[in-house]
Amino acid sequence: MDSKKLTKDKFGGFIDLLSKQKLYVPQMAGETLRFAPVDSKDEVNLVFSNTAVPPKSVLFPQTETLYEYEAGGTEMIIPEGPEEKVLLGVRPCDARALTIVDKLFSWDIDDPYYLKKREATTIIGLACQEPGINCFCTSVGGGPASTEGLDLLLTDLGEGYLLQPLTEKGEKLCQDAGELLVDAAGEDNQAADKVHQEAAEKIVRNINVDGIPQKLEDLWESPLWKKVSDACLGCGACTFLCPTCHCFDIQDEMEGFEGRRCRVWDSCMFKEYTLHTSGHNPRPTRRERTRNRVNHKYSYFVKNFGTIACVGCGRCINNCPVNIDILDILSQVVKEAL
């Protein structure tokens, strides 16, 4: 299907259409920008920069019930299937991240909780126009208008949006929108290309990832791991806010006679993550834990799935309380491996 155009006076109508399903958009929750369901369409506002919490939190919630049971009982009730959702305003890097998480959750054994939500969700992207100071998507296979993982990509042209349908879900949405949309003209497409190109030019940080998996292997015992992790507080912000991080713990929780077994986000930066029953810990200090985080994203995931598990969104850099910078670590890796 060819591109469409939505003029801004029709935006309200488009939101009405999307609101037929549960609609999630970036919203402030306290001081944190994150994807949340829309109660009133007046809340819909796409002027924000990228969210602090990635949209993975909708498909892989921070706490998720696996099943419920009653105290002393043996019957386990799995929560009802997910409702149809639309995520509007997803940045291309975060959508690419979902395609990376997809690989893990469908690896040999399907993860029904994630995959069912993924299937029931339509992802509408918004091309990035103001990349952040620590963005480096273009170094790891993405870009401000990358389409991987998206059903529909919106580009803000000022007086309206250019809509590029990318999947059947995206095409269906455009069909349902009917007269709200008009066919995009050649100049609209050109204008969008210009927006995309200008955004890409605003990205200042980069890394050459060629050969990084091998370099990491060669530098396993390098003193650099001690150096780059010395300042780490082990807070886990880098992993919790990472759009590709997917590790979790499973915990039981009782409230009165009602119990549930749930999964909760976990982080390889925590000591307890790998702690053995005996007290032995195969990753005893932040040196080993930092080394694992970087290796997992830039070596192990590449070996297992053929892609780097990092989309260059810059969140781990922006949110580290002690300014640990994965690009800085990677450039040291490149330099040392020479």
Binding site: L104, C247, F248, Y273, T277, S278, Y300, N304
Partner: protein, 282 residues
Amino acid sequence: MNDNLNPYKPEIVTVEDTWFETQGDRAIKTLKVVFDDEEKRESWEHRPGQCAMIGVLGVGESMISISCSPTEGKFLRFSVMRAGKVTQALHELEPGDKMTVRGPYGNSFPVDDWKGKKILTIGGGIGQAPLRPIIEYVKANRGDYEDLTMIYGSRTSADLCFKKEFEAMRERDDVNIHLSIDIEEEGWPHYVGFVPSLLMEVNPSPENTIAVTCGPPVMINFVLQNLKKLNFADEQIYTTLENRMKCGFGKCGRCNVGNLYVCKDGPVFSYATLKAVPEAFA
């Protein structure tokens, strides 16, 4: 997707029998359990070396080695050391109580490929639990294997698991048992010293032999060194890793050694494989 395909949803089992292997703060208790669902009882298959996620609803789950061989019958055995919240709850279970089991997880010892060979197991402490199914499997198919030798040690004689079974095995002339304790005790008739030293004392020939070891990481490291001194090839040496796990099928992340997942690619690894993995012996 129907609920039966939900890999997180466990089966309910009933505890049939329990007994203590060892006493003390970190006592080891064996739980013998059977599936409540008759169909599951029949269809369940596991191989020596696999683990299962066992748990108590309202408390949590722990990954535990299945410590029986499928040749022993339609039940499962788990030998659990009391160490934390979940294992404490498992220790409180008595016959008739219910618990949860899901699995089995991981690969297994390639016991059928080992037919015609001599089998040597080298265990330390609770590390004997995943080795026990090999011994039982070989005993049940005794004609298929050459010598069966078991080296097993713990800190004190009170810390040895499966003691009664060893006594019974001593009656047979086709199992060689070598026990050790770390510290001298009055009346102890066997070896005193660490397991890797007992291995050198036993001095097994590598010829047509498979050596399998499990125990504390430091013991495994020295056993591996000593097996190399005894001229065992990397391909003749197997171990089983028991990293912390939460899911059992490669999603939750934590059990990785390098790019391998212990729950999926292991827990059984040949030394030839592990040698190439950077943090395997961390």
